[in-house]
Amino acid sequence: MPTLSTFRKLDMLRARLREQRKSITKTVAICGGTGCQAACSRDVIDAVKKELSEQNFSEEVRLCVTGCHGFCEQGPVMVIEPGNTFYCHVTSDDAPEIVSRTVARGELVERLLYTDPVSGKKIQREAEIPFYMAQDRQLLSQNRMVDPCSIEDYIAAGGYSALTKVLKGISPGDVVSQIKASGLRGRGGGGFPTGRKWSECREAPGDEKYVICNADEGDPGAYMDRCVLEGNPHLVLEGMMIGAWAVGAKKGYIYVRNEYPLAVKHSRVAVKQARELGLLGDNILGSSFSFDVEIARGGGAFVCGESTALMASIEGQVGEPRPKDVHTVIDGLYHRPTTLNNVETWANVPAIILNGPAWFASKGTRGSTGTKILALTGRIKNTGLVEVDMGTTIKTVVYDIGGGGVNGNKIKAVQIGGPSGGCLPANKFTLPVDFDALIEAGSMVGSGSMVVMDEESCMVDVAKYFLTFLQDESCGKCVPCRLGIDRMLEIVTEITNGRGTPQQLDLLEELADTVSQTALCGLGKTAANPVLTTLRYFREEYEAHIKHKKCPARVCKALITYSIDAGKCTGCGVCRQGCMHKAISGKKKQAHVIDAALCEKCGICRSECKFDAVLVA
């Protein structure tokens, strides 16, 4: 394809692409995101492709392998247009039927339709599924339209028109003021106003400046950046170009962790395609603007998601944070002014330019505008990626979109924002997903992961899990993070082992407070949040562990015992056969007994027993 040397050539290309696509009347969009690939969507894609060519549909039907649709629980998913037909849990064996019936004749394959768990009815259209209905999918809905490896798809869908608009007639200063007016705040965790960051970087002295896209997402349970970069890399690129124009940067980096092979691949393909079309390089679209992007792969350290550690990593240094008494917008990558934003932040930029800052500011709350993608995981029915307006209550997300707890279990808490965030109890679910409101409650929006916990989760164990994660991932540079987390974990482990004392609880609180105030980087400063919030909202669980030596959720192995209810036990012997530690004995058709000395408390007997005869206390 020839390089686009003027704005007109881009418009002509877009018109030509749209003209070509007029003959295509039907689209089969199959999710090729990581979640669905794990559920074998690759096989489905191959099977559908084969069927389409065998049944001679290759000309009029477009098979679009897209990024993540969001409803990962139901994967592999596909949407067939026209008709907006949504099929879930598709297997490669279904392909012939889908092509011969739905694609060819518009008939429905009933068994592949989504069943609403509340009403029990089959739902045909994607738009009518309750999971999608309560959302406002500004970014994620674009994933469904485009093939991430095709710049033509993106251009035909109106891509790079925000860039054209900016280069044609919006000065860098105006771009910054538009972003400021939109109220966009950083989606990576801190919620720093993006416009302010850009204007500080723009005003910083120096000719050479950088923009960086932070795709080093490492929170347990978070994968929204992954899906945006995998599903629509050109959107992120376009946002970066606009940002680079605004701050005066000529060079950008996408720092993506190597554990995201698809994101690495797709962003590489996107950069290559953009270069070939002349959308990256010197004098983009005939303007004075020159910009290029390089992909930097991260080795998988959680700490490299911190801005200064990330920059050190790009420079080839050890990925460790450094003190930020001088901000990175003045002294960043290679000691030059640098604007670093999260994937989702960059992805929001083109829409703000196209639709205007007022449109963006009309969504969300006064302090937090726009939409936010949340990764809903844990003990909940509908797991997946959820995009809602800022200010939507946690309740709406958990119950209306998430569909409530698995097996109808009562939901106890939600852990928002990963290891940097905190656990909020059910009585705080009226809180909105809003930067300031959540910080006030001791948590934070963070990257946007939402891990749902029910009555079967022990909050002390949750705190222990996050501390173990953080202890592994702490770089070890500063004392409070390295030793503080280690000691907190030591205390929490003592408590879960039933050896805790009330004094330790006070010490834990004091230590957590010290870590949060004195740690070097943002990750260390927020590392104590899981402990602080569980102590704040679930202190009685800690006290039960310490005073009564009981784990209310029956999770902490040192504090529980397994026994068999002789009245309920039928002596079927399933538990005895299942027990790997040979702790269960008993004769056929007689009540069995668990030998406490041999029991490892794995819980297999309990899950195997059909008569609920295994008791945990």
Binding site: R322, P323, D325, V479, R482
Partner: protein, 232 residues
């Protein structure tokens, strides 16, 4: 030419070199801020966090390390508030529980107000202050030792654990190491670690809170009383 700025440290207006660290400035003027990883003429990394101060910006007090904070016109810094003392004490307690075999760290803990250690003692020989690593890299340009590993595994070692030829065994790293100053009664045996804090010089600070005790520790760590002779 050096530029000077006016900085307020604990209420005193001080004529400081622009861009110099607040810690250097404070020490030069006799404000004793406890510190461990800071060594004059080496870069500051802010690892030990003992030199924390309150930096007041727009009425809000931010806790930050003074070694990485550069003096700027109109800056307001408090080195000795209750909040800072509490935090420093907790940090020193973590350090001394980790490495009780260093007289230097025992002394720092006493000076920071630790009276009792609430954590089980460990017998580590290194607190990862990085004095040796930076001295080797910055003064001798040798890079013969460096940090290896992350988090709990972080330790100081030669590249690939083999002493390279360019390590001339100058022992400068050993001279700077706080672990070389052993407690009065010699290194403690595993399981017998304790927090001593009984030295005479240290008892003075126990009575005069907030004052400088002219402890011998200051000599080794470049305290203003010994180095600059500019008394407060």
């Amino acid at each position: 030419m050096l530029q000077y700025v006016n900085v307020s440290i604990d209420g005193a207006i001080i004529h400081a070199i622009k861009g110099a660290s607040v810690l250097d400035t404070a020490i030069e003027y006799g404000f004793c801020i406890p510190h461990l990883c800071h060594v004059p003429n080496l870069s500051d990394i802010g690892a030990c966090r003992l030199c924390i101060v309150e930096h007041i910006v727009n009425g809000r007090a931010n806790v930050t390390t003074s070694c990485t904070l550069h003096a700027e016109e109109g800056m307001v810094v408090q080195t000795n508030t209750d909040r800072v003392r509490n935090l420093r004490r907790n940090l020193a307690e973590l350090l001394v529980a980790q490495a009780p075999n260093s007289r230097a760290i025992q002394d720092i803990a006493v000076r920071c107000g630790v009276r009792k250690v609430r954590y089980p003692f460990r017998n580590d020989d290194c607190v990862l202050c990085g004095r040796c690593v930076r001295a080797c890299a910055e003064i001798w340009k040798a890079h013969a030792i460096g940090f290896v590993g992350r988090g709990k595994e972080r330790h100081v070692d030669h590249p690939f654990s083999v002493r390279p030829k360019f390590c001339k065994q100058c022992d400068y790293c050993i001279q700077l190491c706080p672990m070389t100053i052993t407690p009065c009664n010699g290194p403690m045996k595993p399981g017998k670690e304790r927090f001593c804090g009984n030295c005479e010089s240290q008892l003075i600070i126990a009575e005069e809170t907030g004052g400088c005790s002219w402890c011998r520790l200051g000599e080794g760590f470049g305290c203003g009383r010994y180095a600059g002779s500019k008394a407060r």
